[in-house]
């Protein structure tokens, strides 16, 4: 009990419930109980990072017992210091509406033709902007060609980030190299931005000796300690608690860095998402939780995934600051991540970003999305809301880019990617020993025995294993 009492004072300003009219409500008209309440926070519509801080930062510390009587000695008996804080009473039997009157607005800087809609964004200089564009094009090129390679049977599997190039590159550009990235699997662009080479990407997809994962993971499951990009695991949303744990470790060290984790709309249904959000808030961990709400979880549309107003509204449910941005707008994504990073580090708090976008490609090479969604819809998003085109238009308006540069860039990118694939394809696969290495730091006897046994088998049946590397 003492724990809650001492923290109640700081939680008090947190509850800005609107007390509706105190007039009598006839209990027989049940419908009137379900009025459409505006959302708890009056800030929706304004740029959230300008909103006043709702709570003072709380430090971890030993709990002091306080005098129950003095806390509850309010002359008005209209509030009570419950565990968790002071709550005002209302005489109205009224339920909070399931959905807000209006959906949370979406922050956008550029319109589809590349024109600025606002001056409220973080400026980017020419070098960064051009680099961003080039990387977005490179990502598109990599995706296209690797996808084709899978269709040709050269690699077994691939996931594209089609339609989410702005999310990938702009968010990466707004971070520093010291920030830890915990990706899901549609964030290869973040790795590209950080300097992971085309050859490295190709090597991983082919699982050859050059692969820094040593042939142990599926294509597109990249990981690079050097680039602070944590290896992709196929399990959904397991990276979110990892990111919170890593943020915890940064907090312990007091480092000027944060963690960022990416996940999709589908991933927010998992238990790990819920608990990680909760932990991040309780721990006050410097983590950016970036949701790529692209409308689809394989064939499950968001209407079957959740009934809330997207993901952004969940932020407040956990006590986390949040924002909704146009995921196809590179400047908006950049600004949001830039500000979120500042908040996360300087205030040691988590921030939730929901980027609304569209999965312009299939879920993966194992999927044909035309089976469950109209092709016209896919085509519309690809054409009209293409994040790369929009950013290019803005660059052209700035005078920082031209059509000729574009053709040249794309041709060169295409050639580089093709070359990387050709080289990767020809490289050998890792040797047999890699099956047994790195399961532990040093192989225990049972694994050594198993390796010996396998080598003997391969030796004995060499004809059956001619295409394998010993």
């Amino acid at each position: 009990m003492a724990l809650y009492l001492s923290k109640s004072g700081k939680l008090l300003p947190h509850f800005k419930q609107k007390i509706c009219s105190l007039g009598m409500i006839s209990l027989s008209s049940i419908a009137s109980c379900f009025s459409q309440n505006p959302p708890l926070s009056p800030e929706h519509g304004k740029t959230p990072y300008a909103a006043p801080s709702l709570f003072a930062s709380r430090r971890f510390g030993s709990v002091k017992a306080e005098n129950l009587a003095s806390i509850n000695n309010t002359a008005d008996s209209q509030a009570l210091n419950f565990p968790g804080g002071m709550v005002k009473f209302t005489p109205e039997l009224k339920f909070i509406s399931d959905l807000p009157e209006e959906r949370i607005n979406c922050y956008r800087v550029l319109d589809e033709s590349g024109h600025l809609l606002t001056s409220d964004f973080v400026e980017i200089d020419k070098d960064i902007a051009v680099k961003m564009y080039k990387e977005m094009v490179m990502l598109q090129t990599v995706d296209t060609i690797f996808y084709e390679a899978q269709r040709q049977g050269r690699i077994s599997f691939y996931v594209t980030a089609a339609g989410e190039e702005a999310i990938n590159i702009a968010s990466a550009a707004a971070l520093s190299m010291d920030d830890f990235v915990f990706p899901q699997y549609r964030e290869a662009g973040v790795l590209l931005w950080r300097g992971f080479g085309l050859q490295d990407l190709a090597n991983q997809c082919f699982g050859n000796v050059g692969d820094n994962c040593k042939g142990r993971q599926m294509p597109a499951h990249y990981g690079s300690k050097k680039h602070n990009y944590f290896t992709v695991a196929s399990t959904v949303a397991t990276q979110i608690p990892h990111a919170v744990g890593a943020a915890y470790s940064l907090k312990m060290e007091g480092r000027d860095a944060c963690t960022i984790t990416y996940f999709g709309d589908g991933g927010t249904s998992t238990g790990d998402f819920h608990a990680a959000m909760n932990f991040a808030a309780v721990l006050e961990a410097p983590v950016i939780l970036f949701c790529r709400n692209n409308g689809w979880a394989i064939s499950t549309p968001v209407s079957d995934q959740f009934r809330s107003d997207g993901i952004v509204v969940r932020g407040q449910a956990y006590g986390i600051r949040s924002i909704r941005v146009d995921g196809n707008d590179a400047l908006a994504v950049f600004s949001a991540v830039h500000m979120a990073r500042k908040m996360a580090i300087s205030e040691s708090r988590p921030v939730l970003i929901e980027a609304l976008t569209y999965r312009a490609g299939h879920h993966s090479t194992s999927d044909d999305s035309s089976k469950y969604r109209p092709i016209e819809e896919i085509e519309w998003w690809r054409a009209v809301q293409d994040p790369v085109a929009r950013f290019r238009k803005w660059l052209e308006i700035q005078g920082w880019w031209s059509c000729e540069s574009d053709t040249e860039l794309r041709d060169r990118a295409r050639q580089e990617v093709l070359d990387a694939i050709q080289v990767a394809e020809k490289m050998e696969k890792p040797d047999l020993g890699e099956i047994f290495r790195d399961v532990y730091d040093f192989p225990p006897s049972n694994l050594s025995d198993q390796e010996k046994s396998l080598r003997q088998t391969v030796q004995r049946h060499q004809r059956d294993y001619t295409h394998f590397q010993l």
Partner: protein, 392 residues
């Protein structure tokens, strides 16, 4: 080291005062001049605490001071191990439910939050999969988390993170990221705790590649295994037993670790090799007394390392006795005994004079009623009968 059952739990636990609190960064000043190698707080020994909960001969201070080492209960030994490692390495931290100011449900982390702060001894919300995931993330970025499952059974919720991430990420990242976590907690059949709180998770976890599993059974090996597990670069699951926390033993004052991969020879013998671990060790030793009286000479080995098995020690024993009895608390199907039987058959078939006998619990959820519960756990009488039949 002979260990004895401490009967009273509450009295002993409450009587233990936490060691003299000192800020972690300052050297600990002791009243007596002691060599640096003696890491354990001497203030605990100087008569401040009542370690004797059982009515046994009272140790007068004079004779106590002359015997080497100090007496602890098993949960205190675990705490000592934890504390020493936290003192030694600032990266070691603890995650779990109620581990902070509450000190843990079995008091293993008592006093540590006061000493090291709320952040390093972290109370987590109720989400095992997620705080285990947090530990994975923290471990990948340089910390050395010790995750406590309030009861081992709850860690079933963490299976995804333990198997798919903890066990795998070192491998799938090509060795780039290490996950030096320790996952620990009490498991096994207790006293009428109900089926959900009587789980033997070693059965389920044993297949997971990339993790190591050890089971402690005495205060001595509990402390040693805790320290070794924390220092290991691999994820280690440390199985404790609910009923063994109040075991009392005299353990060395000097710092020590025990090997994670070695079995422990409890009682050398000639006639039969009895392999066991955790609480069943005590049922076996009780049976051993009866067996000795009947003229048998059993060799008792506490296998301790559940993954990988210490086939060296086990093999040497089998080569001597040619008969094997496995006594475990796991269910018959898919338990540690099942795997051990297979491993021994494969490796030491030539040395066996008789088929391996494995005594395990039945494939049933653990019932609540005392008598029913007792019948699901292997009792000393069964062990005696099994040995007699084996040695016929």
């Amino acid at each position: 080291m002979a260990a004895s059952f401490g009967v009273s739990s509450a009295a002993a636990a409450n009587a233990v005062k936490s060691p003299a609190l000192s800020p972690p960064s300052l050297p600990v000043i002791r009243s007596e001049a002691r060599p640096i190698s003696c890491r354990v707080n001497k203030s605990r020994k100087a008569g401040k605490i009542t370690t004797k909960a059982v009515a046994a001969q009272a140790e007068n201070p004079a004779s106590a001071a002359s015997k080497p080492g100090h007496e602890v209960l098993l949960f205190e030994a675990l705490r000592e191990g934890l504390e020493e490692e936290m003192e030694r390495d600032p990266r070691v931290c603890i995650f779990g439910e109620d581990v902070g100011h509450y000190g843990g449900s079995y008091k293993v982390s008592k006093g540590l939050a006061d000493k090291y702060g709320d952040l390093r001894v972290l109370d987590t919300p109720i989400a095992e999969n997620s705080f285990t995931g947090m530990a994975v993330g923290a471990a990948m970025t340089g910390l050395r988390p010790v995750v406590e499952g309030m009861n081992m059974g709850f860690l079933l919720l963490a299976f995804n993170q333990i198997s798919d991430n903890c066990g795998m990420l070192h491998y799938t990242s090509g060795g780039q990221f290490t996950i030096p976590t320790v996952i620990r907690g009490p498991g096994g059949v207790g006293r009428q705790l109900g089926a959900e709180h009587s789980q033997r998770l070693e059965s389920y976890f044993q297949s997971i590649p990339g993790i190591q599993m050890v089971a402690c059974s005495t205060p001595y090996n509990a402390k040693g295994l805790m320290k070794a597990a924390i220092r290991s670069e691999n994820p280690v699951v440390l199985f404790e037993h609910v009923l063994l926390y109040n075991l009392k033993e005299r353990i060395p004052d000097e710092e020590y670790v025990v090997s994670l991969e070695e079995a422990e020879m409890v009682r050398p013998g000639e006639h039969v090799t009895i392999l066991t671990y955790s609480r069943m060790r005590y049922h076996v030793m009780q049976a051993a007394k009866t067996l000795v009286n009947k003229g048998y000479d059993p060799e008792v080995i506490d296998i301790r390392s559940l993954k990988p098995f210490d086939l060296y020690t086990i093999g040497n024993s089998i080569k001597k006795t040619h008969k094997v009895l496995i006594v475990e608390e796991c269910m018959r199907t898919g338990g540690i005994g099942a795997s051990l039987t297979a491993a021994i058959n494969e490796n030491f078939n030539d040395y066996l004079d008789a088929p391996i006998v494995c005594l395990s619990s039945q494939d049933v959820p653990t019932p609540y009623a005392g008598t029913l519960e007792e019948w699901t756990v292997v009792q000393p009488g069964q062990i005696v009968t099994a040995v007699e039949q084996l040695c016929r």
